[in-house]
């Protein structure tokens, strides 16, 4: 089997929220019991390492970037490799050193419990994450390699005086030694160590999660350009993520103007980011649980049996992470040598480098006894789009769908009990994947779908938010532990990546929003080092990209 490692890059605070949930759910799902071997090839996203004390570590192959002050109680050095530091003032002559200690950021209960070996079962404790989480490290379960951590010192998290808010601030930051030198070198080191000796083909891919409403769009755009220059053969899949809520104040007239201006700035950052991504990435898939996305996130996407607060990034990012974790299984399974490159090449045909994603969480059998019955009674679309301003529909699509957590026993009734089912053509299908494939073939037009089925459900144990309605336990009808309350909690999930004309509509709406903005009214962009031609170019790139989605054949 070829090695097909992926390096994940996360740019910005919301991306790190999504990333945190993603790494958390993966690690919650690790099977430490060697008797049952995992379907998932964890080496794709993780790496094995060695501490100074010769302890083996298994940490995400990851680089993340955030602003000063955003880590709160998480030390930059991590807690895996750092030697337990003794009082360093002891090493120094006290006359020569002044010690300045910032107020200690106390760890929340969850983090304390993770640290203490006495507390064996974090799943049994109740935590008030909804109140307690102010940054992503508050609910971080994963432990990072120290090299994963990249903190920008020039800008401070949540400081209005030194905002990191416009695209060019990010592009110029990329030129600083921290990125030009250190960060690029870290990418290179990760790539250098990738391969396994039995590999006959070697391939390194990149995942990028990036905030795109602020200057991180600029930083990641520059990074994308670098990746294109230095690793041109590698696949690069970008997920621009957008929060579903911005806490702008709008009580006074002045604040309302400010809020409108903020909206425009965000749209400009997104447009500039998207145009850079479309030029250098293999594929990019914008993600948000806000249905509109551009000027305002818009009403939140609804998921049956789920009740979530879209104002909490802790909630919304969990949904996005669940989708990522599910559709990425396609290129992370031990049983197949399908790679990220393969996926991107199929989805980005005809220069369609933007795609959409969808999620059905939980994938409930809706009270049916089996999948066949469930699909037979299914009403409406199978999944919910999580790409803003994009309704995926059922025509002219090319799509990769992954369904996890439905067991083969739940496929259909055995012949002696099947009765009416016997008459359905789908009764012939003898796997989850083929049945779902057949369903998609019937329910979509002019589309090609590839279905992957995975046994393992999504693990939604603490610290995953408790967003499932009580009914989910009964209706989803899959987990033996019905209501996610205690112990192991698993839900089946369906998620997909799609490309087709609706993505053109999405680009169209972003283009229109961007064009309406009077760029000259936002001197921060020029002051940050941009030229107004770049704005024009960005509009051109978007409209060229959009043209790739016009199906000009007549049926």
């Amino acid at each position: 089997m070829g090695s097909r490692e992926i390096l994940t890059l996360q740019f910005g605070h919301y991306s790190n929220y999504v990333g945190t949930h993603w790494w958390n759910v993966q690690e919650q799902g690790f099977e430490y019991d060697s008797s049952s071997s995992s379907e998932i090839d964890h080496d794709v996203l993780y790496r094995e390492g060695l501490t100074e004390k010769n302890e083996v570590t298994f940490t995400p192959r990851l680089l993340f970037v955030d602003l000063k002050g955003s880590l709160k109680s998480l030390p930059e050095s991590g807690n895996l490799y750092a030697p337990n530091f003794n009082d360093p003032s002891a090493e120094w002559d006290p006359d020569l050193v002044t010690v300045k200690t910032e107020p200690v950021n106390n760890k929340n209960q969850f983090q304390q419990d993770l640290d203490s070996s006495a507390c064996k079962n974090i799943h049994r404790n109740a935590y008030d994450f909804e109140k307690d989480v102010s940054v992503w490290s508050d609910f971080l379960y994963t432990r990072f390699h120290p090299r994963s951590v990249n903190i920008i010192r020039e800008y401070q998290h949540c400081n209005e005086n030194t905002p990191f808010d416009v695209f060019p601030l990010g592009t110029s930051l990329w030129k600083s030694p921290q990125f030009d030198d250190d960060f690029c070198n870290k990418i290179r080191s990760y790539v250098e160590e990738c391969d396994s000796f039995q590999a006959s083909d070697l391939e390194i891919g990149f995942h990028m999660l990036t905030d795109c409403t602020n200057a991180f769009a600029g930083l990641s755009s520059s990074c994308v350009e670098h990746l294109k220059d230095d690793y041109d053969k590698s696949a690069l899949l970008i997920f621009p993520v957008m929060p579903s809520y911005f806490p702008d104040r709008v009580t006074s007239v002045e604040e309302r103007y400010q809020s409108l201006a903020n909206d425009s700035v965000r749209v400009l950052n997104m447009a500039l980011g998207f145009s850079a991504f479309s030029e250098h990435a293999s594929l990019f898939v914008p993600l948000s649980v806000g249905s509109k996305g551009w000027r305002k996130p818009g009403p939140k996407r609804q998921f049956d049996l789920v009740e979530y607060d879209h104002e909490l990034p802790y909630h919304s990012s969990a949904l996005l992470a669940s989708a990522l974790e599910t559709f990425s299984l396609k290129y992370r399974l031990k049983s197949s040598h399908f790679t990220l490159t393969d996926l991107c090449a199929d989805l980005n045909r005809n220069g369609r480098r933007a795609a959409a994603a969808s999620l059905k969480l939980p994938f409930s059998l809706n009270g049916s006894a089996d999948l066949l019955d469930c699909l037979d009674k299914w009403q409406g679309p199978l999944t919910q789009s999580i790409t803003p301003s994009c309704e995926i529909g059922s025509e002219n699509l090319i799509q990769y769908i992954t369904l996890r957590g439905i067991k083969e026993e739940q496929l259909k009734q055995p012949p002696h009990l099947a009765q009416k089912q016997l008459k359905l053509p789908a009764y012939k299908c003898d796997s989850i994947a083929s049945m779902l494939n057949m369903y998609l073939a019937y329910s979509t037009d002019f589309s090609i779908s590839n279905v992957t089925a995975v046994n393992k459900p999504l693990n939604v144990a603490t610290p995953y938010p408790r967003i499932f309605q009580a009914a989910a336990g009964r209706q989803a009808n899959v987990s033996t532990r019905a209501v996610p309350e205690f112990g192991q909690e698993n839900v089946p999930v369906l998620a997909g990546l799609h490309n087709g004309p609706p993505i053109g509509d999405m680009l169209e709406s972003l283009y229109t929003e961007t064009k309406r903005i009077k760029f000259a009214k936002f001197p921060q962009f020029i002051a940050g080092g941009m030229e107004s031609e770049e704005y024009e170019e960005c509009l051109n790139t978007l409209s060229t990209l959009r043209e790739n989605y016009v199906d000009d054949y007549v049926i």
């Binding site: 390492g49 060695l50 501490t51 100074e52 010769n54 000063k68 880590l71 709160k72 109680s73 030390p75 930059e76 050095s77 030697p83 530091f85 360093p88 003032s89 120094w92 020569l96 050193v97 002044t98 010690v99 300045k100 200690t101 910032e102 200690v104 950021n105 120290p146 010192r153 020039e154 401070q156 400081n159 209005e160 005086n161 030194t162 070198n185 290179r188 080191s189 790539v191 250098e192 160590e193 391969d195 396994s196 000796f197 039995q198 590999a199 006959s200 083909d201 070697l202 391939e203 230095d230 053969k233 396609k330 040598h337 790679t339 490159t341 393969d342 090449a345 199929d346 090609i448 590839n450």
Partner: protein, 508 residues
């Protein structure tokens, strides 16, 4: 705005209010930074809320590390660090001077002087200060003695000065700083930092059978892929069987094998039957099968080398970095006496040493923990930048506060020639300059007033610039003592500081 046109007093009142807030902020920053000015200043250890440690004496690093909430304080920090990013020095002084200018302005504004008049005075004073700078600067011939002196005041740490001295000594031409690699190594017990006449790479070979060290090496530096790249993608819609796939792979792989064979052929012709050995350092990838072939020939092969190191390698060992293996020749190769691997935990390092006339070197920093390494690295980066600036400016400014003392003297004289109330701004500016010698005195344990009086008196009598000797507290000629500062940092000080100060004074 309309109100202030009708009633100028209103603007004064508003400005005074805003200024009061700004001064508190500036003072807060000043208080933190004061104690680390000059060679007698203290080192600061910052412990973050999460327990991360940072040790530094550098104003720039300090400002970047601190969590600053106050808007004015963040702006001051921003202005000061911006200047440092280009010069690598002078942050602490900038913060102190900004704070002092605001304090001086406050005295006059609280007495009813219009803020705009103050800033007018500042403008005039700044022009004068820049004139003084032009007069006082000392042209430098670029040679190792002069540069070493400059590093001494800029870096203060003997070890680095010594190293840089070595660096420069090898060559009479200015050194291309780009060609110095900084390599850090975290090590429990070793803490020395040394100069490697060659290159240290932060990776090793990826094959268990490759030699761990070689002597008398030919070095092939290249940017040629030695890994199989899938040309056809494996579509999820048109599924291929594993066997079909293997067949396709082996056909395509043959192409890469031929490449590797070219390298092996050259190695055989040059090394077999001699005591010479062969090392390949590639910017592109080398896949396991290629590594295997090279290992069988006793070749050390490194993949994914840093782009910058390609050029550095050629300068350190000779030869050129090749982009193709077609007509590969001996003249393309570099040479090194000793190449060996060093393993530390999960990190591997490869030393390419004993190069005959290395034009590129590595500063290898060893320290027990991250914060010590960072501190060394910051200091070295600053030092290198300082040298660079001096080479560019071809001039320096006398240090030990001589420039500030001279500006103070000149401005006091100039003040009397200024008509109207804006001379008060000039006076304020003159006074503010003294914060530098004052702080240097405090940090060295001398009485502030005594020191200032002595310096001002000596400065009036002496046509040469007068600075402060930090061991005796007496005036000295910094030129004789070999204490210099970068022209860059001083100039920027006055350009930048002012723009920002005026904003703080006139607006909230």
């Amino acid at each position: 705005m309309a109100i202030s046109l009708l009633n100028p007093k209103a603007e004064v009142a508003r400005a005074a209010q805003a200024l009061a807030v700004n001064i508190t902020a500036a003072k807060g920053l000043q208080d933190v930074m004061k104690s680390n000015l000059g060679p007698k200043g203290t080192v600061k250890m910052l412990v973050s809320g999460a327990g991360d440690i940072k040790i530094t004496k550098d104003g720039n690093v300090l400002l970047h590390e601190m969590q600053i909430q106050h808007p004015t304080a963040s702006l001051i920090a921003r202005a000061s660090t911006a200047q440092d990013d280009s010069t690598g020095d002078g942050t602490t002084s900038t913060v102190l001077v900004i704070g002092e200018l605001l304090k001086q302005a406050d005295i006059y504004i609280s007495e009813g002087l219009h803020p705009r008049i103050i800033t007018e005075g500042f403008d005039k004073a700044r022009e004068k200060a820049l004139e003084v700078l032009e007069k006082i600067k000392i042209p430098v011939e670029i040679n190792k003695e002069n540069l070493t002196d400059i590093c001494k005041t800029s870096l203060r740490t003997k070890m680095f000065v010594l190293m840089l001295y070595w660096l420069l000594k090898k060559d009479d031409k200015p050194v291309d700083l780009y060609m110095i690699e900084l390599m850090e190594m975290q090590h429990k017990t070793e803490t020395d930092t040394k100069l490697i006449k060659g290159l240290v790479l932060d990776h090793g070979s990826r094959h268990p059978d490759m030699p761990k060290s070689l002597r008398n090496c030919y070095i092939l530096t290249c940017n040629v892929s030695m890994e199989y790249e899938k040309s056809e993608v494996n579509s999820g819609f048109f599924y291929k069987t594993a066997e079909e796939r293997e067949k396709m792979v082996s056909a395509e792989r043959e192409f890469i094998t031929q490449r590797v064979k070219k390298v092996i052929a050259l190695k055989k012709s040059l090394c077999d039957g001699t005591d010479k050995t062969f090392v390949v350092i590639n910017q592109k990838g080398i896949d396991p099968m290629s590594l295997d072939m090279l290992a069988k020939e006793g070749i050390i092969a490194l993949r994914r080398a840093k782009r910058r190191n390609m050029e550095r390698l050629a300068l350190a060992c000779g030869g050129i970095a090749v982009n193709s293996f077609d007509d590969l020749q001996e003249s393309h190769l570099g040479q090194a006496g000793y190449v060996y691997e060093h393993v530390l935990g999960e990190n591997k390092y490869t030393f390419v040493e004993d190069c005959k006339v290395p034009q590129s070197v590595t500063i290898l920093m060893k320290g027990p923990n991250k914060h010590t390494l960072m501190q060394i690295k910051d200091a070295i980066r600053d030092g290198l930048r300082a040298i660079n600036n001096v080479i560019e400016d071809k001039a320096v400014v006398p240090g030990a506060a001589a420039f500030e003392v001279t500006v103070n003297r000149e401005l006091l004289a100039f003040k009397d020639t200024v008509k109207g109330k804006s001379r008060l701004g000039v006076a304020a500016y003159a006074e503010a300059m003294l914060i530098i010698p004052k702080t240097l005195a405090v940090n060295s344990g001398f009485d502030v007033q005594d020191t200032i009086v002595k310096l001002q008196e000596e400065s009036r009598l002496n046509p040469e610039p007068v600075g402060l000797d930090l061991t005796s507290g007496e005036p000295i000629n910094p030129k004789d003592a070999g204490i210099f500062r970068q022209l860059h940092s001083q100039e920027a000080d006055h350009q930048l500081v002012l723009g920002d100060c005026q904003q703080f004074i006139t607006r909230g």
